[in-house]
């Protein structure tokens, strides 16, 4: 009996080996990035990659922040992401409410069109969008990417919101209508506040997508003053291709906001990502 328990215990500890191995694989490249972002070339080329820097060179970060356009790109990423997220979540909430709570004939068709939107490759829309924005003089203008981010994130946002809206009890609307509430007031003052948790989740997911987006900015924006971080670091790394510490620091600056957000909001992020696909 005791022997079998001991075997079982051994078996259960063995099971941790693959789990820890995968975790190390996932995290080690990022740890290495942090290490070399604090070294100078001398140290990168002569010491072992996993050796800690003798003195951490925080000046790498200071240097790249003001040199090039990293600070401008960073601020662009912040405000463009914020505007797109607010717009997307607001529009998606209205659509989701109408689809889940109101009665109309075309609703399954409209929902279907939003869901098929998830499967459409971005590249199949690039040239028409490029020529559309050129015609209406939005090329090289931040609005071009804000509008496209919103359009392309509506499907996944609606998909996550749907699950939550379906669980809201019908009685809420019935009570409001009997009290003489208009649909607008019912939605804005009763339903919408109830969906705060799921709105937060979709906002975080949208934030991650927009912050990391590359193809649209790279295609539509050509002025340095409007570029976001993803394209900014791409250009910067091209210019400083031999300075490992500077590149490392730039990459760290670009991923830090997401890492910090993940540290504080990991539960919402995990739930949002799972909800977006599992319920589909």
């Amino acid at each position: 009996m005791t022997a079998s328990i001991r075997w079982r215990k051994l078996f259960y500890s063995l099971i941790y080996i693959p789990l820890i191995a995968v975790a190390l694989l996932q995290i080690f490249p990022l740890v290495w990035l942090l290490i070399f972002s604090l070294k100078d070339n001398q140290e990168v080329f002569t010491t072992a990659p996993w050796a800690l820097p003798s003195t951490p060179r925080w000046e790498n970060y200071v240097k790249v922040w003001s040199e090039g356009n990293i600070n401008v790109n960073f601020i662009n990423s912040v405000w463009i992401t914020t505007v797109s997220v607010v717009l997307t979540v607001a529009l998606a909430s209205f659509v989701t409410f109408a689809i889940t709570r109101m009665q109309w004939r075309l609703k399954s068709l409209v929902l279907g069109m939003f869901m098929v939107g998830l499967m459409i490759p971005v590249h199949s829309t690039l040239i028409p969008l490029f020529s559309l924005f050129t015609k209406i003089h939005l090329i090289d203008h931040p609005l071009s990417i804000i509008l496209t981010y919103t359009a392309f994130n509506l499907p996944i946002t609606i998909m996550i919101l749907l699950g939550f809206y379906y669980t809201l009890p019908r009685e809420v609307e019935e009570a409001s209508i009997i009290d003489g509430c208009s649909v607008n007031r019912m939605f804005l003052q009763v339903i919408l506040p109830m969906t705060t948790p799921v709105m937060v989740t979709t906002a975080i997911i949208n934030m991650i997508y927009n912050w990391n987006e590359f193809v649209f900015v790279n295609t539509f924006i050509s002025s340095d003053k409007y570029k976001t971080l993803t394209v900014g670091i791409q250009n910067f790394v091209g210019q400083y291709s031999t300075d490992w510490g500077a590149i490392g620091a730039t990459l760290m600056i670009s991923i830090l906001p997401i890492l910090i957000a993940f540290f504080f909001l990991s539960n919402q992020i995990v739930e949002g990502i799972a909800a977006g696909s599992v319920k589909g």
């Binding site: 099971i15 789990l19 995968v22 975790a23 996932q26 995290i27 490249p29 990022l30 990035l33 080329f45 990659p49 529009l91 998606a92 209205f94 409410f97 109408a98 709570r101 109101m102 009665q103 109309w104 069109m113 939107g117 499967m119 459409i120 490759p121 590249h123 199949s124 829309t125 690039l126 040239i127 028409p128 490029f130 020529s131 559309l132 509008l147 359009a151 509506l154 499907p155 209508i177 649909v183 607008n184 991650i208 990391n212 590359f214 193809v215 993803t230 670091i233 791409q234 590149i247 490392g248 990459l251 670009s254 997401i258 890492l259 992020i269 995990v270 990502i273 799972a274 696909s277 599992v278």
Partner: protein
């Protein structure tokens, strides 16, 4: 009640703004892509209608089929890797201490920008100072590969980075689905004498078959339209050895400004993605849908 909730004006007011975004910026462009594919057009200047010329050129374009082959190869690898992710998720969903922490660590790479990830992997694969070759030298490999400069290896090297980025995403999805399986079912099977493998194979997997189907579609279609890491890490090179459909299209569009031909590629890519989605759903459709309750 029903009258209020079917007020056409309010429905239009709520749905139209969002729907206009989708129609104008997603659906009209995909139709236009097909239409532009019928033109000879170099961005600036007039379009000239040439019928199916671009599409015929595409079918005969060996370089395109090579990139399509690479895209399908990526789809195959992504689909096969799902088995590994499912295994990890099965272990994780057993009574594992720290399961929550593990799945969060796994997810981190997927949250970071592809450009940053691509730049990081460029450094990892660096022939002389990259951590990978330094490790290989440290364990005694005398001539470590040059990775991204080697046309025979480059494709797989990039695939590895892509799989690394998405692993946590799929593990997370499987984990969430497995946690939804009522524990009562598992306990009942255990009492009837089923071992952990039988429980996994006969009870858990059938119950999450719907989710598995979704991930297969996501992995395959996501691979077929894949672009970011490949574009930043290799640009499709050296000499087309890592070109995929989306990077091939992008090169024709925004390097050669051959808008007509690249529109044809873009439209073809769309058709492939939709047909493959439909095919997978058709092939995996089953009548005996299993439910939890």
């Amino acid at each position: 009640m029903n009258k209020v909730m079917s007020n056409k004006w309010i429905i239009a007011l709520y749905v139209l703004p969002g729907f206009m975004f989708l129609a104008v910026l997603v659906y009209i462009p995909i139709v236009l892509t097909g239409y532009y594919g019928l033109m000879e057009w170099h961005g600036l200047g007039e379009m000239k209608f040439i019928g199916l010329g671009n599409y015929i050129k595409l079918i005969k374009d060996e370089m395109f089929w090579k990139s399509a082959y690479h895209s399908f190869l990526l789809a195959l690898f992504s689909a096969l890797s799902l088995i590994g992710y499912l295994l990890v998720a099965l272990i994780l969903a057993g009574r594992i201490k720290g399961a929550d922490l593990f799945r969060k660590i796994y997810l981190i790479p997927m949250l970071l920008s592809s450009v940053a990830i691509a730049q990081l992997w460029l450094k990892i694969y660096h022939p002389t100072n990259g951590v990978l070759n330094l490790l290989l030298v440290a364990i005694g490999v005398e001539q470590p590969p040059t990775w991204l400069a080697d046309p025979k290896i480059v494709l797989y090297a990039v695939f590895l980075a892509i799989l690394w980025q998405y692993a946590g995403f799929y593990i997370l999805i499987y984990y969430a689905a497995l946690k939804n399986v009522p524990s009562a079912l598992e306990e009942a099977a255990r009492i009837d004498g089923a071992g952990p493998w039988q429980v996994a194979w006969k009870i858990k997997l059938p119950l999450i078959s719907g989710v598995i189907k979704v991930t297969v579609v996501l992995a395959i279609v996501g691979s077929l339209k894949y672009f970011d890491l490949i574009y930043v890490m290799t640009g499709g090179g050296p000499n087309g050895a890592s070109e995929v459909m989306a990077s091939y299209m992008y090169r024709h569009a925004f390097k050669s400004f051959d808008f007509g031909y690249s529109s044809a590629i873009g439209f073809f890519l769309l058709l492939i993605c939709l047909v493959v989605t439909w095919l997978i759903r058709k092939l995996t459709a089953s009548d005996d849908h299993v439910q939890y309750s």
